[in-house]
Symmetry: C2
Subunit: 213 residues, 2 copies
């Protein structure tokens, strides 16, 4: 008699509602009352199931992080010889395509991409979660690859390259509303995302004189 079935249902409803509201209003503009109302649950359930508001937000971010952890960068780079120029070029492509897929594929709820990078704006538990479990480990892989491609790169220089790779995707995610309105689009088209991926990939491959694969 540990837990009742209804427990998981309301917890998921609250997480989903919180995610949508964060995407719409911003992380620091959502109230427990708004979340409970959208989820059609009582305010008290938030504190009963998650302890407090932050506990709920942790689970919201956790939902996104688990999707990223399910496809670690290591998998994309396995079976590649990072000393081979051709494989180095493939590695660049794999890293960019993976990140783009995780952010823009429609297999996850819409709010994922609009929520996740908001946590990087304010220091706190949420940022620490995303940084320690996603950002830092993934950057380590990318920096390692870049220093294989060009052994003369310092850590700072390799990090700068890493950020120039990721930044376009981050901006398209975090400023989605502004970007879409500037593009007069309702949502990113598959072609647009593909073209942006292509820019990022071939830019980096050309910069390092890698084969264009």
């Amino acid at each position: 008699m540990a837990t009742y079935r209804s427990s998981e249902v309301t917890k998921n409803a609250l997480i989903e509602a919180a995610g949508q509201l964060i995407a719409d209003l911003g992380l620091s503009c959502v109230s427990v009352r708004a979340i409970a109302m959208l989820a059609q649950e009582n305010i008290g359930t938030i504190h009963y199931h998650f302890g407090n508001k932050e506990g709920l937000l942790v689970e919201v971010i956790n939902k996104v992080i688990e999707r990223w952890e399910a496809v670690p960068v290591e998998n994309e780079l396995a079976q590649l010889d990072l000393n081979d120029r051709h494989d180095q070029a493939v590695a660049i492509r794999r890293i960019i395509e993976r990140m783009s897929r995780l952010i823009f594929s429609s297999e996850a709820p819409d709010w994922h991409r609009q929520v996740i990078y908001q946590v990087m704006q304010h220091t706190g538990i949420l940022q620490e979660m995303f940084r320690s479990r996603v950002i830092t480990p993934e950057n380590r892989q990318t920096i390692h690859l870049l220093q294989r491609i060009d052994p003369s790169l310092s850590y700072e220089q390799a990090y700068a390259h890493t950020l120039t790779i990721q930044s376009a995707l981050i901006v398209h995610a975090d400023y989605q509303n502004a970007v879409l309105s500037e593009l007069s689009m309702a949502d990113y088209s598959r072609e647009y995302i593909a073209y942006m991926e292509n820019i990022l990939i071939s830019q980096k491959q050309k910069f390092f004189d890698l084969p264009l694969v």
Copy 2:
């Protein structure tokens, strides 16, 4: 006897305090009381001088926008022949260096760069100000240049290029705290910014097979 001297002094103190607090806490976490306390002014002065909180925020953003408007992109591109490959390469460099200078040069208060892109997160008067007076006009120039460089580019494709140019700078500005902590730096070094500029410039020049200038 229109206005007294003290008026401008307190107005500037309030704008400066608001800017610093927005940079530290985030746009939506700043209260009129915190602003007044940091400025060492009375809360009522905010409503007396600016009408309401939003009126003060408008002036904060205005301070930043005026710096950008003082050096229009047109000036950087004047005397360049946008049909000439060499001048096209120079134009790319000028556009990127101008934006980097506006964001990272130390001639303006520290908070400018951490404040300005926050307004792009939420729709409202502040975003509309920055978009209509800075973003849209500047993007028009960049897109025009890119379509001269490669006439086959559609508007969406040219816009994607524009964003890949700007994104790294935006991310370094808006996520400054997280980036600096990942780099174990107290502030961006001149060398780091210069290296990032170099990446962005030569990446774009190589992508379009322009001379590397």
